[in-house]
């Protein structure tokens, strides 16, 4: 088993095919989208592959040490141009292929017109612990 991080982006991912901002959807389309996300999580939970899923607020800041006795430097709370992570799922699956398969399913979440968004998701493997036993 290996853990993978599926990352959703507010910004920074390639543009999805069905790219309509959420406030232009109908309320029913929003409900369907949320239900899809919820169903995905509970399905992955039933298969024993779910580890964690969290949503992030859009505001973020880069922070850096700026030398002794000085406060850390930040780029301010509203940096407009960088990548922004919207949230993640952590899954624990048998193979890379399975991780890709699940990310593909998640990317099919319905958006405007009830059609899939084709949202681009980032899939990143977790660094594994060194094996206890070397074969």
């Amino acid at each position: 088993m290996a853990k993978y991080l599926l990352l959703k982006h507010y910004r920074g991912a390639p543009e999805p095919a069905n790219n309509v901002p959420m406030d232009q959807w109908t309320p029913e389309e929003i409900s369907d989208h949320i239900q899809f996300m919820r169903d995905f999580a509970s399905r992955v939970e039933t298969t024993g592959e779910f580890v964690d899923g969290q949503a992030l607020a859009p505001e973020g800041a880069w922070v850096r040490y700026d030398g002794e006795g000085r406060p850390p430097v930040t780029d301010g709370p509203f940096a407009e141009t960088k990548d922004l992570i919207a949230g993640w799922y952590v899954i624990d699956v048998d193979s890379y292929d399975r991780a890709i398969e699940l990310a593909g399913e998640l990317s099919a979440a319905p958006g405007a017109g009830g059609k899939p968004i084709h949202e681009w998701l980032e899939v990143r493997p977790f660094m594994a612990e060194p094996p206890t036993v070397t074969e």
């Binding site: 959807w25 949320i34 859009p58």
Partner: protein
């Protein structure tokens, strides 16, 4: 099947037992550890062999655990002998012990997060695992937080009089955390506040208890089956718990009669006015505005001013609400959401839709974000038709 141990009873006895150990001379951290062990022992033993009187049983076992722990530490042997010679306490001091424990756990030297964790553990009798689950953090994280809190208050003298306002603040934080895992923190906060109310006749304790009961009464109607938020005006009022409402109102009226209004009494009064309306249209917004004026007076809180603007919008029309809003700082949390709502009510859908979408971006939780996105979508969908 084995009879289940009454965990609520166990938890309610916890603070008194810790208090008794401390008064007999145990330091706070050691007393707290010993009592936790005695609770585990009770869970193990009581199903088959219930005690006639639970509290002395817990005191006896906890004291033995404490002595065992102390005995293991050779350097403490002399102190332990002195402790064993102490007389057992009289009955009258028990209530004071519990109250002291509340003060200690809410001590101003603790951060709010630590004060909450320590209160749930020492006064509430929850296990570290339960608290960790409720706050969605790993158990080791919560264990560290609690140990640090115990070290922080290690030198605080137990007989020091605390400030009831800090205790009330901590319980309010617990209430607002909701629940996950197997502990409902709102219900736990109510239980602890009820207990505190029997120990202290401070009107703000009563105010907080009334506020909690009135909010808790509305909880069954607050969310749809899919977890989405139902705004107050759209809630199915037949699902409100009338028993809790009646109790909350009665507690509030007794507190208000003492004429020492504080922020929790004022908030409870607002909640009571909402609870009093059979239908949303019957809400007495004029009185609610008056209570917000009172709340602003006692707290000077910008959030209270923001909520007041909403109430003014209902009492005197959306324009008046927007005028009240214009005097506030736009960087306030939920400012944009309130502005969107008032523009919506004022019949300006274009501005409202734009502000709802903007407010969704900065919403503090998913339920609110979804709600705001739906509002924007509703207006935009109507406009397209």
């Amino acid at each position: 099947m084995e009879a289940a141990v009454d965990e609520t009873l166990l938890r309610s006895l916890t603070p008194a037992v810790i208090g008794i150990l401390v008064r007999r001379g145990a330091d706070f951290a050691a007393a707290e550890d010993a009592v936790q062990e005695s609770l585990l022992e009770a869970l193990r033993v009581w199903p088959e062999n219930p005690p006639r009187d639970p509290k002395p049983w817990l005191v006896k076992v906890a004291w033995r655990k404490f002595i065992d722990a102390t005995r293991a530490d050779a350097s403490r042997r002399r102190r332990e002998e002195r402790l064993e010679a102490e007389p057992s306490p009289g009955a009258g001091a028990a209530l004071d012990d519990t109250l002291q424990l509340y003060f200690l756990c809410a001590h101003p030297s603790l951060t709010p997060a630590s004060a909450v964790a320590l209160t749930l553990r020492a006064v509430g009798g929850l296990t570290t695992r339960q608290i960790a689950e409720a706050y969605l953090v790993p158990e080791t994280t919560m264990g560290q937080r609690i140990s640090r809190a115990k070290r922080t208050v290690a030198d605080v003298r137990f007989d020091q009089t605390g400030d009831v306002a800090t205790v009330v603040r901590v319980l309010y934080l617990v209430f607002n955390e909701g629940y996950s895992g197997d502990v409902d923190l709102a219900a736990e906060a109510i239980r602890l506040t009820r207990q505190l109310a029997t120990l202290s006749d401070h009107p703000e304790v009563a105010g907080l208890l009334a506020l909690m009961l009135l909010h808790h009464a509305r909880r069954p109607a607050r969310k749809r089956a899919d977890g989405s938020l139902v705004p107050l005006a759209e809630q199915d009022r037949s699902r409100w718990d009338t028993g809790l409402i009646a109790e909350g109102v009665e507690i509030l009226q007794r507190a208000l009669a003492r004429d020492q209004v504080g922020e929790f009494q004022a908030q409870a009064a607002i909640a009571a006015l909402h609870a009093d309306a059979q239908r949303a249209e019957e809400t007495d917004w004029v009185q609610i505005v008056e209570w917000y004026d009172e709340l602003v007076r006692v707290t000077d809180s910008p959030i209270a001013r923001l909520n007041r603007a909403v109430a003014v919008g209902e009492a005197d029309g959306a324009r008046a609400g927007l005028a009240a809003l214009a005097r506030l700082d736009p960087s306030l949390p939920r400012y944009t959401a309130v502005a969107a709502y008032l523009h919506d009510r004022d019949g300006d859908p274009v501005t409202a839709a734009r502000l709802y979408a903007q407010a969704a971006l900065v919403a503090p939780n998913l339920a609110e974000r979804d709600h705001l996105n739906r509002q924007a979508a509703r207006i935009n969908a109507t406009a397209r038709r």
